[in-house]
């Protein structure tokens, strides 16, 4: 009886719907599980053990939360996290530059596409290659110093870009900004394109200048993409890895959290501790994302209500 019901259900539209949905979803979900959640689960498990990579499972020692306590007790882990502040500042600068160029390039500019391509290009180069480019770029007497020399800067006034600990983190951040702002810009241009161009005209008739148009039309129009980009940039800056790893190898005070984690995991082979560091970083990123969400909700609340008011007005007359 129940067998019959199941068959009937399977033939019904609902049943068919279920099968179609299921068969389409099972593969991506399986991939997601096997390559994301399963390794993640393993990592969380590792974080409670004292072990090396090649320690057989039966020889791993369970240490409870000791690894987590160590993460907070060690000074190198959180000192490394402070370096993320450099990258956060860099991320904000990057967003401002990206937004600026995006706004200019989304209006009619001579050679606009050429400039778009030019600024997007660095994003297409592999991070490792960029590392090598900038290693030579910053070497004493190489590209940057020569260019500054042309501009009349005396060589004795130029710092050692990677050696001097007062500037070396900024040097690294600059490479990251150079690489990613083009990508942010393209996303912004896409969003700005979707803003109804009649609005600019209407605003111009009302006597709004470019800045006012930017502030009252573009910013509210692209706030979703803007929020997304800020969140991605901040989380990205917390997990900065490529520039310090390739250019300086994390030495000379440039070891970010990821670089230190990599060193602990692969050189000292404290896999448990490194896993715990990864979990702690994940929590921090969670925290940051939630805070940002709240922040944007608060900041854009006024804009939202204005939108509602104006749309109401439009409907009413």
């Amino acid at each position: 009886m129940s067998d019959f019901k199941l068959k009937k259900w399977a033939r019904s539209r609902r049943g068919q719907q279920f099968f179609v949905c299921f068969s389409f979803m099972v593969l991506p979900l399986l991939l997601l599980f096997v390559f994301t959640y399963l390794p993640f689960g393993q990592m969380v498990q590792f974080s409670f053990y004292k072990m090396k990579y090649l320690t057989p499972p039966d020889k791993r020692v369970f240490v409870g939360f000791q690894n987590y306590i160590d993460v907070f007790k060690r000074d190198d882990c959180f000192k490394a996290l402070k370096l993320s502040l450099y990258y956060c500042v860099g991320a904000l600068v990057q967003l401002v530059i990206a937004l600026y160029f995006a706004t200019i390039l989304s209006f009619k500019v001579r050679g606009g596409n050429f400039f778009k391509g030019l600024m997007f290009f660095p994003y297409l180069i592999s991070g490792i290659a960029i590392g090598f480019i900038f290693k030579f770029f910053y070497t004493r007497g190489f590209v940057l110093d020569t260019v500054l020399g042309f501009l009349g800067v005396n060589e004795s006034n130029i710092p050692y870009w990677l050696k001097d600990q007062a500037v070396n983190n900024w040097s690294l951040v600059a490479t990251s900004v150079w690489r990613y702002f083009g990508q942010n810009m393209v996303l912004f241009i896409g969003a700005i394109m979707s803003v109804d161009s009649d609005l600019y005209e209407a605003a111009a008739l009302d006597g709004a200048n470019r800045w006012e148009q930017f502030k009252h039309i573009i910013i509210p129009g692209i706030k979703t993409i803007l929020t997304l980009n800020v969140i991605l940039s901040i989380t990205g800056s917390l997990s900065a890895f490529e520039p310090p790893y390739v250019i300086t190898g994390g030495s000379n005070g440039t070891g970010t959290y990821f670089v230190i984690m990599n060193e602990i995991a692969h050189v000292s082979q404290k896999v448990g501790l490194a896993s715990a560091m990864a979990v702690v970083l994940l929590m921090i990123i969670f925290g940051c994302t939630i805070l940002q969400k709240l922040f944007f909700k608060y900041v854009f609340k006024d804009v939202d209500s204005q939108d509602e008011v104006s749309s109401k007005r439009r409907k009413n007359p």
Binding site: S23, K135, L162, S251, E263, V267
Partner: protein
């Protein structure tokens, strides 16, 4: 509504097709699986015959007579190696292609598929961890206790010691799991002309003489970098650890036995010996401006040409680097190799030791193992690899080498005592000093502190002593106060 049902129909047929597709691939999977089992049974038959030859005993290194055994064996083995430069036709010495061609003249049936990797140590670890690794590979940092999990034994220690030097290097429980590809001595590679031009006629034997020589070079021609640190490459910094044992103490048990139990091993012994003296040379050289101006942008590939044409005085690197420096330019005759400038009671010592060791996959088929054994033995005895690479001989039957250290005693380190094989690794992991285990960061920090003058050398050594003592405490290691 009609439209919707049509659409649904379409989707359903698509889903059905999907289903069909997956079943058909399943069927496809089953078919080759059958083949595979067949192949396995075939292999089993051949291995049985091979077993019959060796009378049901595992084949060992000593059993093989080159040129007689297995000359008609047909097998393909894979090889993972760290020497990317030998995999390049522009290499000045003998390339891998030439070695393998020579090997195949004698053993045309054994095909060797070579992969070389610049990031060898990590790549090899990843391969091992995955369980799917090459037939022959250079053994990376595997704990001795785990050697037998991954690699087959070449035979027992007593037999192997009659065959090769350095047999104890990868030995565990009386079985030998690794045969070194070559062996090197640890000293300093230098440019003879630069030293001679600066008036340094006698090679420095103490830290003081060495620093004076560097200073003389700098005074003679300020454009020459007396000591190039290779800071940026990283691993070149960890190489300084190789000198703290034999060179600094003349004691063959120091690194693997004494160091583990020494209280504050990095303290100042006051006589320019022990680890303190080694690292102090680096600190002083940097503090006195005798190294490159901007250490963060040193260039490993570039330094070879620079020392060859006389822009660099010397570099602290093992003798393996000697042929590379010679090959990097037109002045090969100017490159020399000297012992490390530390003397213990007026006598200089140098560590000689094996390079990477060949390991053979424990899970390979018997045919592959036989092919691999033949290949390893051929590399050791017939290839001349060790001599070509300016190394010390591996095969017991050989003696010739290009390295000449007059009046310097070459010593080989003895392994840890039984039960403490992994203690150095444990202490390294715990203290994170990683001595003799890619501890690049700590040596880089010596240069940073020397350059910025924000920590004296003694403060650095005190910190290391503390980390070492804490690790000894945590692991419950007995400490001998001296």
């Amino acid at each position: 509504m009609k439209k919707f049902s049509k659409l649904l129909c379409g989707v359903m047929t698509a889903a059905l097709l999907c289903g069909c597709g997956s079943t058909s691939t399943d069927a496809g999977k089953e078919a080759p699986a059958d083949n595979a089992t067949e192949a396995v049974t075939v292999e089993n038959e051949t291995t049985e015959t091979a077993d019959a030859v060796s009378e049901d005993k595992a084949l060992t290194y000593a059993d093989i007579t080159l040129g007689e055994d297995y000359t008609d064996l047909e097998v393909t083995i894979s090889l993972l190696n760290n020497r990317t430069d030998l995999d390049n036709e522009t290499y000045g010495g003998t390339t891998w292609r030439e070695y393998l061609a020579a090997f195949n003249e004698e053993y045309p049936g054994i095909k060797v598929e070579l992969t070389t990797d610049t990031n060898y140590a990590e790549t090899a670890m990843t391969h091992l961890q995955s369980g799917d690794y090459e037939t022959v590979l250079m053994i990376p940092a595997v704990d001795k206790a785990d050697l037998s999990t991954y690699f087959m034994s070449y035979g027992d220690l007593a037999t192997m010691e009659t065959q090769i030097n350095y047999a104890t290097n990868k030995e565990y429980n009386g079985q030998v799991y690794g045969v070194p590809i070559t062996a090197t001595a640890q000293g300093v590679v230098y440019n003879k002309k630069v030293f001679a031009d600066a008036g340094v006629t006698e090679l420095p034997k103490t830290p003081e003489e060495f620093l004076a020589a560097l200073k003389a070079i700098k005074d003679n021609d300020p454009s020459i970098i007396p000591l190039y640190t290779n800071y940026a490459a990283g691993w070149t910094m960890g190489a300084w650890d190789d000198y703290i044992g034999i060179s600094a103490t003349g004691d063959v048990t120091y690194t693997n036995q004494k160091l583990l139990h020494t209280e504050n091993p990095f303290k100042d012994y006051g006589d320019d010996t022990h680890p303190y003296a080694i690292y102090k040379i680096l600190y002083d050289a940097v503090a006195q401006g005798l190294t490159e101006e901007d250490y963060t942008t040193t260039d490993w590939e570039g330094c070879k040409g620079m020392i060859n044409n006389g822009q660099i005085g010397c570099m602290v690197l093992g003798s393996w680097s000697y042929p590379q420096m010679e090959a990097a330019g037109e002045n090969a005759e100017n490159i020399g190799y000297m012992p490390f400038p530390v003397s213990v009671d007026g006598k200089q010592y140098a560590l000689c030791g094996p390079d990477y060791c060949f390991g053979i996959n424990a899970n390979a088929t018997d045919d592959e193992k036989a092919g691999a054994l033949v290949f390893v033995k051929w590399m050791t005895e017939k290839s001349n690899y060790s001599y070509n690479e300016d190394g010390l001989p591996i095969a017991k039957s050989k003696t010739e080498t290009k390295l000449v250290f007059d009046g310097v005693e070459l010593l080989e380190e003895v392994p840890a005592v039984a039960g403490e094989e992994d203690l150095l690794n444990e202490l390294n992991a715990e203290s994170e000093l990683n001595i003799r285990n890619a501890g690049d960061t700590k040596v880089q920090q010596i240069i940073e502190h020397a350059s910025m003058q924000d920590m004296t050398f003694d403060e650095i050594m005190d910190d290391w002593n503390k980390r070492w003592s804490d690790a000894q405490d945590t692991l419950g290691v007995t400490v001998d106060a001296e």
